[in-house]
Amino acid sequence: MTRRILIVEDDAETRAYLAKGLGEAGYLVETTGSGREGLYLATGGGFDALLLDRMLPDLDGLSLLKSARAAGVAAPAILLTAMSATDERVRGLRAGADDYLVKPFAFAELEARLEAVLRRPADAAPASETALVCGPLTLDLIAREAVRGDRRVPLQPREFQMLEFLMRRQGRVVTRTMLLEGVWDYRFDPKTNVIDVHISRLRRKIDAEGEAPLIRTVRGAGYMMSAGA
């Protein structure tokens, strides 16, 4: 099924760049540079996700989103902003955004987050799950244990959380910022490569000598967990 994305962005170059990239990624894209038109299009319905610029000349992204949410538009929305994430993000989420990206961002980051918000409904029912499986690796959510084949993998609590985060998003790119946000609830960019080091430790634990690696590095984007790598 082709998913339709609405892009509301007043900068023509960024708009074209996003439209081209998402078009190549297989999305059906509609764009506008006007907030009012964006609201009109969004309330017209039929979009699977909205990409809204925070600052638009006529109607800013936050107000657009609030109006669209008030009009019953439930499609997930990602706000794009040139402003810092640390406090604007909270405002965005209050207005009904599902995620928030600070410009400039890597396209891979946008794609990963877009995938994440599009899949969100599927993640919404994890309560009944008692275990996650990725090929030979099983994560027991009740006993909080990981088992690869017949080998028990000892994990620190944070490592368990990271692995759970990755396993719930199998086959999709998870960026470093998504991990920092999802596992530690921090939304800044540490200068030190803290996430990479955590991932490499996690890898060493779950992939023993000669075993097929389950966590793949996606160059320029982040990590992906999959059994058939």
Partner: protein, 455 residues
């Protein structure tokens, strides 16, 4: 002196003074006049009753004698000279008294009347107030008071009022003039100083007279404001200069890399490497500008509405946990000494970011020389958070400077930072009204944040 504000001030003062003086004397006139009138009336009525008794005892002749006696001894009574009496026949002819004849328009009866009457032997009429009575035998009796006395009292009062008004006006003008001259001279001083500063003499300050009065206090406040502005301007100048350097240099390199990449004769690998380096420079510029933006937003207090209670001990544990693996890889250990219940009001993300900047710095500068210790504890009513390393530390003389934007301890070392990490920490500290202090960890650097604890 003739400037609008001055004349308005004096005029307002004058009007207020005249009004209050007039009001005071007017009240005296009204209340004293009323009392005098009422008293005169009571005396006249008492006299009338007394004379009516004389008539009852001695008849018309006895009454006439009594009246004559009263008129003969005026000096014994204070109101004597003003008193008028008339005993007349039922037809109106005079029997006794000092009035020529019964006034045509005064019918004897109850009530207080004011009349124009002729005294005995007088050519001109006098105004009197009085009361009249018809006696049992048909004779008429009139007792009154000459109003001239009352008029004289009025004149005295009005004269007093006029004098008082004149003196008040003169005083008002004088004090008003003095007051405005005093105020205006001080204002003019401040005005001159402000003009000199606007003219470019930024180091000028408003002069103090040392009187410790309101004007000195105002001048002190203005001077403090000017100091703050001067500091900000200095800051801005420094930031602009640094910006010029830290943005222009990477942009220049970026341009050169792209230019080289355009060279079609170069090897494809070389061109690709150039483009990658150009991308790296672009990232540097972006990182610098985002950091600057973040600092200005924090300094402006954006996000202060998102303050929430934050357990500094939990923050220390979380950050130690986040950095543990990366620190270990660099040969350093993360240590954590967190007391329970050290809670402050703060911005969770900004505080975490500040702590992360401090740990990043410690990892870069201490290069695995001993552990990095995060501490959270209470100390004398304050919540204290510190990050300590065992690196080279910061010389005491440099400690204030490294907290400002674009300041690096040793730019030649080129650790890749733009010198904004600690500036953000300082801005976050200021936003949380926390004191930031750099000290010697013997060896190494200890950065301490002292937060006020929410009541």
């Amino acid at each position: 002196m003739l400037r609008n504000a001055t004349s308005r001030l004096i005029a307002a003062y004058l009007i207020a003074a005249a009004f209050s003086t007039g009001l005071a004397l007017g009240f005296v006139y009204w209340s004293a006049g009323g009392v005098i009138d009422a008293e005169a009336r009571q005396v006249v009525e008492a006299e009338l009753r007394g004379l009516a008794d004389d008539y009852a005892r001695g008849g018309a002749a006895g009454l006439a004698r009594a009246i004559t006696r009263r008129l003969e001894t005026p000096a014994s009574r204070p109101e004597g000279r003003d008193a008028v009496y008339l005993l007349a026949t039922p037809g109106g002819a005079r029997i006794a008294g000092n009035l020529a004849r019964w006034p045509a328009d005064a019918a004897p009866g109850p009530g207080w009347v004011t009349l124009q009457l002729y005294r005995v032997g007088a050519e001109a009429p006098t105004t009197i107030s009085g009361a009249a009575l018809r006696l049992a035998g048909g004779e008429r009796l009139l007792v009154g008071r000459d109003v001239a006395a009352r008029a004289a009292f009025d004149r005295t009062l009005i004269r007093a009022l006029s004098w008082a008004l004149a003196v008040t006006a003169a005083l008002a003008l004088g004090t008003g003039w003095l007051l405005t001259r005093l105020v205006l001279s001080r204002i003019a001083e401040i005005d001159r100083a402000a003009r000199r500063i606007m003219g470019g003499a930024l180091e000028q300050r408003v002069p103090l007279r040392g009187a410790g009065d309101e004007f000195d206090r105002l001048a002190e406040t203005l001077n403090a404001m000017l100091d703050r502005i001067a500091a900000l301007v200095g800051d801005l100048r420094m930031v602009t200069d640094s910006l010029a350097h830290d943005i222009r240099s990477p942009l220049g390199r970026l341009g050169r890399h792209l230019e080289a990449a355009l060279d079609e004769t170069a090897a494809p690998d070389e061109r690709r490497a150039r483009i990658e380096r150009a991308l790296g420079e672009a990232e540097t510029v972006l990182a610098t500008s985002s950091a600057l933006l973040e600092i200005s937003r924090v300094e402006a207090g954006v996000g202060a509405d998102q303050f929430a209670p934050i357990d500094l001990g939990a923050l220390a544990r979380d950050m130690a946990d986040l950095y543990a693996a990366a620190a270990e890889e660099r040969g350093a250990a993360m240590r954590c000494a967190a007391a329970p219940g050290v809670v402050v009001q703060g911005h969770p993300q900004l505080l975490a970011q500040a702590v992360s900047n401090l740990i990043d710095n410690a990892l870069i500068h201490a290069k695995g020389a001993g552990p990095i210790t995060l501490t959270a504890r209470r100390e004398g009513g304050r919540a204290v958070f510190s990050v300590a390393d065992h690196g080279p530390g910061v010389p005491e003389a440099e400690r204030a400077r490294v907290l400002t934007r674009f300041s690096q301890l040793d730019p030649s070392r080129g650790d890749g930072g733009a010198g904004l990490g600690l500036a953000l920490v300082a801005a976050v500290a200021q936003m949380h009204r926390a004191e930031i202090a750099l000290s010697d960890n013997a060896p190494g650097l200890r950065v301490t944040l002292r937060f006020p604890v929410a009541p």
